[in-house]
Symmetry: C2
């Protein structure tokens, strides 16, 4: 970790999210290199940063396109100049269908589905359009979020998509569970066979997730979408996907009170750090006071147990908090402050924040 | 609860926060009446809604001013025309001191402190100013967040404040624990004595909290700040401070997937509902499917166990989710949709969202 406090910290109006651009660029280069070594197209997920400027860094480094989780995010990225977008989400409803059709005219667009209702909606959305919408079938290989649960059912849905006017079945999307990839490999092998039985080729297999980034390509995928790697966070450090030195986003907070000998209060609460625990028993890591414990949050207050600290931070002191989970933190701010070395480098708009629908 | 689905729901681009203005107005009128019956000034906390339009409704109904948790919120409310503001927070740091001094020129402003470092900072901020800054001493009567922990220490801090140039000790602020008010009553009695011993009168006692709104005035306070009452939420219903019919803010979400027989997925996750559990074992109440359980959230997905439902919501159906905690939900959106009866009534800006510092 860089020495702290650096001069920049003293100038801040806290609480403030601060992004180290040197680390961001290193993280981007490293994932890009991992994809290139594996011969896999890099399609980073912008849900972590939601920022036009970072999307541009990812594309300049060699990304083939971007992944978005919401239609509104994809619209924001198209506005920012992105030309190749995948929405890794079931998009449905009349309002969204009209927006989807409009977006497909502007960029090379792919969407996904895990059921025929959503696929039929895509066909209705594209009815009479000159463009063809690329559709991925989402498969559940063990994470149990969305996705078709069996290879045969996925192939059947692929056939359904391929038969619908205005759509092109382009491949499958999966988000394998952290760690064990065997079930995903078996699923994909059976899926290819089942698709062949329907006369279909699985052109693209899009896998993803920062925790598995060290094994990019090992499923035989040809596209990879990772999001958190750009900033990393406490969870990624715990999972071994990053070190503290790879963490680019910190929330800077000020100690505002010392109401009890063993407790100080900081001006970062759940409206700044979110309440995402990610399996941790507390709400973030004070990297410069690792014995301190951010054990509770109110909306604008963080409760810090300093009983194990030889020296506790004093009132007025600025501390750095590594969030448990970076992605929802970006989602709270209109902009982040940026730094390089130990100096401020400006402000960066979180372009797609608030593009929830 | 109103019959559902109403026609308005079908028009929405989900996920969407929807505020029922009829219920908001009823909640505002009820709390105002409770304050007036008790002879207590109503100073609602805007942290729940952060919206200029609702602040105006509160002031029109008779509120004497507003409470804000952050300096940025107070600046936004001053921009919206509010003239009497209390910031119930320790405000410190050079950047904030300059802003505080500027704001004190524009409105009748009070701030609070629970330690002398913060008080000394206020005096520095106001050095040479024509205005006098009103300062409240925050007391901890059992909630153990911020606050001076003993009546004598609070009186000593009050004396310190009163001796500082540019400041006026105006009273005390407390946030009693939900339920038991005895400790707070005892604290205040001792505090008045200790202040008298220092030659000080406690002009204003500002208490607060929606859970205790049914007992406004019972501490002998003369100001009350409640925030959540304007929307209410699942927690307030559990605490008996509101009924479901008093809940004005719902997140409308669409069922986007039905990946397993006993599970459907909605398009509202932690970036829409927050991860605030508030002691609940799940993430919000599907009011029209009370047997369903929103047991897990990903960033943009809600996992709903429908195993106990006689009839599960189908793909494409819009459902209403009552948040566990309303306040951080407002904090996620630039605007909310409004409704009256069963019709949409427009959009309302969440004016102070993002004013974190």
């Amino acid at each position: 970790m860089k020495p702290f406090p650096h001069a920049f910290a003293a100038t801040l109006d806290t609480p403030a999210p601060v992004v180290d651009l040197d680390i961001v660029e290193r993280n981007i280069a490293r994932l890009q290199a991992a994809c290139e070594r594996a011969g896999v197209g890099n399609r980073p997920h912008m849900k972590t940063h939601k920022a036009r400027d970072i999307a541009r860094l990812q594309l300049q480094a060699g990304a083939i396109g971007l992944t978005c989780q919401k239609l509104g995010e994809a619209e924001a990225m198209a506005d920012a100049g992105a030309t190749d977008l995948l929405i890794s989400y079931n998009v449905l409803g009349a309002a969204k269908h009209a927006r989807l059709r409009a977006l497909a005219r502007r960029v090379k667009l792919a969407v996904c589905c895990d059921n025929s209702t959503v696929a039929d909606g895509y066909a209705q959305a594209m009815a009479g359009a000159a463009d063809v919408l690329s559709v991925f079938v989402e498969c559940d290989t063990g994470r149990h979020r969305c996705g078709v649960p069996s290879p045969q059912a996925a192939a059947d849905l692929a056939r359904h998509v391929a038969d619908l006017p205005g759509l092109r079945f382009d491949g499958v999307l999966l988000y394998p569970p952290d760690g064990d990839l065997v079930a995903s490999i078996d699923f994909l092998a059976e899926l290819r066979k089942a698709c062949a039985g329907h006369g279909l080729i699985v052109r693209t297999v899009c896998s993803g997730g920062t925790p598995n980034w060290g094994r990019i390509g090992s499923l035989g995928e040809n596209e990879y979408r990772a999001g958190t790697y750009v900033y990393n966070d406490r969870q990624m450090v715990r999972l071994g996907a990053a070190s503290l030195e790879d963490c680019a986003l910190f929330v800077y907070a000020t100690v505002v009170s010392h109401p009890e000998p063993d407790r100080v209060m900081i001006d970062a609460g759940s409206k700044t750090l979110t309440s995402d625990l990610m399996g941790f028993g507390d709400h973030g890591l004070l990297v410069d006071y690792p014995e301190a414990r951010l054990h509770k949050l109110a909306e604008e207050h963080g409760f810090v147990d300093v009983s194990a600290c030889a020296h506790a931070p004093g009132i007025g002191e600025v501390v750095r908090v590594l969030p448990n989970h970076a992605c929802p933190v970006s989602n709270l701010f209109d902009e982040v402050l940026t730094m390089r070395g130990d100096r401020g480098a400006g402000r960066m708009s979180i372009t797609a924040r608030g593009r929830v629908a």
